[in-house]
């Protein structure tokens, strides 16, 4: 493992080694370097480069811990609505971008891809390349910043990211709604999904616990909760001091040590089929973002889980490691992705394939 002190040093490393793999906080233990790759540790590329609260944007080096950025934003009454996971564990901005992970808060305004504005990265030939910009609205050139979201370090080494931020809500509260059966909980989730309630987060923990988070101005929170409870036929227990609750979710503290954690993109309808398959297993599940993502915790190697996903025509990403490949489930040929890889990394400097 090598640790460049700055971008220039990183460029030299990329030119020197035939295969390199960037590492941020090492929090996504399921993502492993390709065989023979030199791991480039980016904690030296750290710090906020530019932050203007009036602009709703900030720019920081990729190795900057998410926690550090969130603290700075909070001081100015702003936040990252997509709640990068594993921040307390040491996640960095670059790693968040490369792994494409968002927390439960992505439900309201969008995920990491919806908030990235621009990137600078070191390409396969060791040049620094810029894409996008630092302003919230920009249509110039190809959007490589988005392309890098979820690219697992296989297209280049991101050194700097610009993000859009939003004003932080004044107050939060959560409703916990218990159901005896999963099907009941899912029906309620669907009803909320179809409603015009403006929810911060909407999670379902099998068998039947629904977590509904609202956020906004303090003076209206009470009225909004009342209306929500009325919609739920008077059900639901209010948790006012809900920060700890959602921190648990973001940090995946419900995942037992040593287990694999797999991210499965879903839609509300697909949740049912997956839950039916997994309920009889030893796995633990959390369906987040209104049913748009399933987080599956699996004891040991998730090969069997991969088979289930394949049968259901779903994909998965092993975020916390139980061993084996990062991509699980359906893996067809990806002609468009292959072309992108060919254009940006023809020599395989960054390993992997999509």
């Amino acid at each position: 493992m090598v640790r460049p002190a700055d971008v220039t040093a990183l460029q030299e490393l990329v030119r020197e080694y035939p295969c390199v793999w960037p590492r941020g906080g090492g929090t996504k233990t399921g993502l492993r370097p390709p065989e023979g790759a030199v791991v480039v540790e980016l904690s030296g590329l750290r710090g906020v480069v530019e932050y203007d609260p009036g602009e709703f944007t900030f720019t920081a080096l990729a190795g900057t811990p998410v926690r550090e950025v969130e603290k700075l934003l909070a001081e100015h009454g702003q936040y990252l609505p997509f709640e990068p996971p594993l921040a307390a564990a040491g996640a960095t901005l670059g790693g968040t971008l490369a792994s494409g992970l968002s927390g439960p808060g992505r439900y309201r305004y969008g995920g990491v891809r919806d908030f990235v504005l621009g990137v600078r990265f070191v390409d396969a030939e060791g040049h620094v390349v810029r894409s996008g910009g630092k302003v919230v609205k920009n249509a110039a050139g190809f959007d490589l910043a988005k392309l890098f979201v979820g690219s697992l370090g296989q297209l280049g080494v991101v050194v700097e990211v610009s993000f859009k931020v939003f004003p932080a809500p004044q107050a939060h509260a959560t409703l916990r709604v218990e159901h005896r059966r999963f099907e009941e909980a899912w029906e309620v989730l669907r009803a909320l999904y179809a409603s015009s309630f403006d929810l911060e987060a909407l999670d379902l923990v099998p068998p039947g616990t629904l977590w509904v988070r609202v956020a906004g101005r303090g003076q209206s929170l009470g009225a909004r909760l009342e209306r929500l409870r009325a919609f739920l036929q008077g059900r639901g227990e209010v948790v006012e001091d809900d920060a700890a609750l959602w921190e648990q979710a973001r940090e995946f503290r419900w995942v037992p040590a040593g287990w694999a954690l797999v991210k499965v993109p879903l839609t509300p309808r697909r949740v049912v089929a997956l839950e039916q398959e997994l309920a009889p297993t030893d796995s633990l599940r959390r369906y987040s973002a209104g049913g748009n993502v399933g987080w599956v915790a699996w004891p040991g190697s998730p090969a069997a889980l991969s088979e289930v996903l394949q049968r259901l025509e779903l994909r998965g990403l092993q975020v916390l490691g139980g061993g084996g490949p990062a991509y699980l489930g359906v893996r067809g040929p990806e002609p468009f992705a292959a072309r992108v890889k060919r254009a940006l990394d023809p020599v395989g400097r960054f390993g992997g394939s999509f």
Partner: protein, 469 residues
């Protein structure tokens, strides 16, 4: 291959009446909304299904004939301007909404579906399609995808890219690919995000999966009149600083207000130097609470008149003027250029003062409407094409404004894209290596450079505007 050969070749794919070749038939396709540029294609084809689109692209690739896909031709940057002697693939007949799934909140559409039609189809389910460029009654989803179209709600809701979940596309060399998925989340690189906004250089979208969102329960729309543009700009800074996240924040200046009033009689305060429109949206109790704060801020900001829309009709009236501004300004002058640039919001005042100075220097009037919430400016440069040299001066002024945007740390385009109009400025915004990487991506998708040839990337020499009327 000459025009006659192109036409003959295409007639093997299409029945004769769907290959347009006579000058009178071609004329409407020679330009888009960037009317200063015209070019004559060899032929325009009117496919009715994706198979015909794919066959056309493959034919073009086989014979190295450049093509341009076209929706409704509303591009303000020459995005659907034909390549002289090339083929225009007009997609308006691929206008079916293939699937609308209200439970999953998605719509799967053909590229020729008009933007507003998606929201109309979703309305009975309490859903809508959020990206709302002012041309939305006319522009198509395919065009929106190509240019990552924006609108007035981008700060809070993002642009087209944030509302496209999956795509099926034919690449310029004829391969048909699918990427993305129906989920809001994904594993793997965001290929949809790369394709959206690629200005047609990566081929043609055949099928687009769109995200639908629930219609907000309530709106509160405020119109405020100011005696100066600076005051209006400062009010925006105050609104932002107060922690509010409005759905839309728009500013119009005196010239655009006058034009809009004359055109659609929105009932605006007619002597205002600037109008600010701020719209809150969300749950009823929430927007009520936010409104209190908004009115407090706006009243303290020096507005001499503040109006609150009392119902949906009044709300629509406020928006009517703003949405008609571009075409309304057309009444003030024989010709105009619509510009599109971005400056950091906090530099808006500086930018406007500088635009005013440039307007005087060049002796051309400039009307300003802008998405103040995200710093996206739309200066409308008025000129008279019949006066010798005036178009050129207008374009020079436009160039100065773009340079100003770059200097202030913004962008040469917020939402209209680079197209033909701004390709020379791409090199001022990005460095040689940045452009090289973009070129390599283009190359791998389109080795023959037949898709939208001559756009987005800077040319070796300046393009001449052809055949200005």
């Amino acid at each position: 291959m000459d025009a006659a050969q192109v036409v003959a070749g295409l007639r093997a794919i299409y029945p004769a009446h769907r290959v347009l070749a006579r000058p009178a038939e071609l004329a409407p396709y020679e330009s888009d909304a960037l009317t200063a540029f015209r070019a004559r294609p060899a032929a325009v084809v009117l496919p009715e299904n994706r198979e015909e689109v794919v066959a056309t692209v493959r034919w073009c690739h086989r014979y190295g004939v450049p093509f341009v896909a076209r929706g409704s031709g509303t591009s303000l940057s020459g995005g659907s301007l034909p390549v002289p002697g090339g083929v225009v693939i007009a997609l308006n007949r691929l206008n079916r909404i293939l699937r609308l799934d209200p439970e999953e909140r998605i719509a799967v559409v053909e590229p020729g579906v008009v933007n507003l039609e998606v929201s109309k189809a979703a309305a009975p389910f309490g859903l809508y399609y959020a990206p709302d460029p002012s041309s939305q009654p006319v522009c198509t989803i395919g065009g929106n995808v190509a240019f990552n179209s924006g609108g007035a709600h981008c700060l809070k809701y993002g642009m087209t890219s944030n509302h496209v979940l999956a795509l099926e596309a034919v690449l310029p060399d004829g391969e048909v690919v699918r990427f993305g998925g129906e989920s809001l989340e994904e594993v793997g690189p965001d290929l949809v995000g790369l394709f959206v906004g690629s200005e047609g250089l990566f081929g043609i979208a055949l099928e687009v999966t769109l995200r639908l969102v629930p219609k907000p329960e309530a709106y509160r729309t405020v119109l405020a009149a100011y005696r100066s543009l600076e005051a209006a700009g400062e009010a925006v800074a105050q609104v932002v600083a107060s922690g509010l996240l409005p759905g839309a924040v728009e500013i119009m200046d005196r010239l655009s207000i006058e034009a809009a009033e004359a055109a659609v009689h929105a009932g605006y305060p007619s002597d205002a130097a600037a109008l600010l429109i701020v719209e809150l949206e969300g749950e009823e109790p929430e927007v009520e609470a936010e409104l209190e704060e908004l009115l407090r801020v706006v009243r303290a900001s020096g507005a001499y008149e503040v109006r609150l829309a009392r119902d949906e009709a009044e709300r629509q009236k406020i928006w009517k003027g703003r949405k008609s501004a571009f075409s309304a300004v057309g009444r003030l002058s024989p010709d105009y250029l619509v510009q599109d640039g971005v400056v950091p919001r906090t530099r808006l005042g500086t930018a406007l003062a500088e635009i005013e100075r440039l307007s005087r220097e060049y002796g051309l009037r400039v009307a300003n409407v802008f998405h103040a919430g995200d710093g996206n400016l739309h200066p409308l440069i008025l000129y008279d094409g019949r006066k010798p040299g005036e178009l050129q001066r207008a374009e020079e002024l436009a160039g100065e404004i773009l340079r100003l945007c770059i200097r202030l740390g913004g962008s040469i385009t917020g939402e209209h894209g680079v197209g033909v109009e701004k390709r020379q400025y791409l090199a001022e915004m990005f460095g040689p290596r940045d452009l090289e990487v973009m070129r390599r991506l283009r190359q791998v998708m389109d080795p023959l450079e037949i898709a939208n040839r001559g756009k987005m990337f800077p040319a070796a020499r300046e393009p001449e505007p052809a055949g200005v009327r």
